[in-house]
């Protein structure tokens, strides 16, 4: 327990002491805000109110993957992994601390973005609609953002590449999945692909229960990749 406390403090100091963290978080916030402000100019109706909960995911997922990737990728890139594992020979502590801090940052950011973007969108939509749909969407948007971050972390760890941690999710979500479905159009296939499900989970038109199921599929992929990453990081030479 004491080891995990030290690992968390280490990781908080690490992640908050470089500009790149704040730049990436700021970009997620700004993208969401820009999307919301754009709705002010468009034909936004009251039904579009819940969009405030997900506007930051216009590009936020990709940027969250970059945040996750840098949590372990920076150690590889700047040759600090050996010093890290010397201080924390129980590698699971520091790995989980890294994931924990990424998750906490992204949850906090999601809450802030949802609050701000909802405020802007409510002006565009001409009213407020704080109902179950909005809360459900807000919850799923946080979950999706977090999972993007965890997936970025995991792929960076598995590939030993910060860049891959960012590019692989992008490539899979924008190219591979679309390519697969165009070659093998199948609802079954679509129901298991991670990023298709992530997109459906935060889609306003999807019924809540189905949307949460989609979020669970995406979350399942994140968990599987994270478990693989933890196993590899524990066993691999530093």
């Amino acid at each position: 327990m004491a080891g995990m406390r030290r690992a968390l403090l280490f990781e908080v100091r690490r992640v908050t002491s470089v500009w790149s963290t704040w730049i990436l978080l700021g970009l997620i916030f700004l993208v969401g805000l820009a999307t919301s402000l754009n709705q002010l100019r468009g034909q936004t109706s009251a039904d579009d109110f819940p969009l405030g909960a997900v506007n930051h995911l216009t590009a936020g997922g990709v940027l969250a993957a970059a945040i996750g990737a840098s949590a372990i990728g920076a150690e590889l890139r700047w040759n600090t992994l050996r010093a890290l594992y010397t201080a924390f020979p129980r590698r699971t502590d520091i790995v989980l601390a890294k994931v924990g801090v990424v998750v906490a940052l992204l949850v906090a950011l999601s809450i802030v973005c949802t609050a701000v973007d909802t405020a802007v969108t409510s002006v565009a939509a001409g009213g407020t609609g704080f109902d179950g749909a909005w809360f459900g969407l807000g919850t799923r948007s946080a979950l999706v953002l977090v999972c993007w971050g965890v997936i970025g972390f995991s792929i960076a760890a598995l590939t030993r590449s910060q860049v891959a941690g960012f590019l692989v999710p992008v490539a899979v979500s924008f190219i591979v999945e679309i390519g697969l479905l165009s070659i093998f159009p199948s609802n079954t296939l679509a129901s298991v692909l991670p990023f298709i499900n992530a997109s459906e989970a935060i889609s306003v038109g999807v019924p809540a229960v189905e949307a949460f199921e989609r979020a669970a599929v995406f979350g399942g992929w994140a968990v599987v990749l994270l478990v693989a990453a933890v196993v590899v990081l524990r066993r691999r030479d530093a």
Binding site: A2, F10, S17, V18, S20, R82, P89, R90
Partner: protein, 303 residues
Amino acid sequence: MIVTTAGLGRTYGRKRAVDDVSFTLRPGRLTGFLGPNGSGKSTTMRLMLGLDRGDGRTEWDGQQLRDLAIPARAVGAHLDAKAFHPKRTVRRHLMMHAAASGVGARRVAEVLDLVGLGSVADDSPGGFSLGMAQRVGLATAILAEPDVLMLDEPSNGLDPQSIQWLREFLRAYAHAGHTVFVSSHLLPEMQLMADHVVVIGRGTVLADQSVADFVDRSASSQVLVRVADTTAVLSAATRAGLSAVSEGPDGVVVTGASTEQVGLLVHETGQPVRELVARNASLEQAFIDLTRDAQEYTGGEVA
């Protein structure tokens, strides 16, 4: 803290990089870790710290490193030059590592002054020279005042004054009761610094003894004499039962004889002595003698 390694081993592909390496590091002394390039020094250090997976085990006062309450207070290691984020200030880098060992900002400030980085504490180390970067690594290693200090080539990039400072610091650190383990290629420096040496060659331990014993065991007295006719001196030495080899155009190195004996030898040949020098035994010569056949990578003869 006593550090005991037993049967350390590691294979990369078909190459056995480290094979059955065992030795003990004791507190209160500085142990030098010597070996030719590619002999397995860095691999051994990484195996000791659990950074690489391999055979054998290393115990720290009888325990595994992972079982210690605060490992960073047990061992401070500096294995890689420039192991820091280039944009994170030196102070923030050390504060981050302070979290790992539970030390505070006051200790960070102390260490910054101790290693001479006080004036650049709030600078980003991305533009630092290798020498400055080595100081950052040393500061990180000593931050928690660990029982054991492990440094891999810490003198690289340091100017002579800094090397002297490092030598005095490490000796003081060791003689204050800590365990210090330093690998280096600077053998004259190591001779001034180390109390004990572990020599490794082709992945196996070749020697594990005090510096004095190591130097004595493999070096014998030699005398260099410079004369006009080296052939005559070589013949005279052979007749006297001494071992002698030529060195350069006018030099002869005689082994196992005093300067007086060599002087008399040259006098027999009827020629004047241009130079007569006794060569004292050195760590460098002892190391070269011991590891001559354990070199992984050798250069060609210089014409």
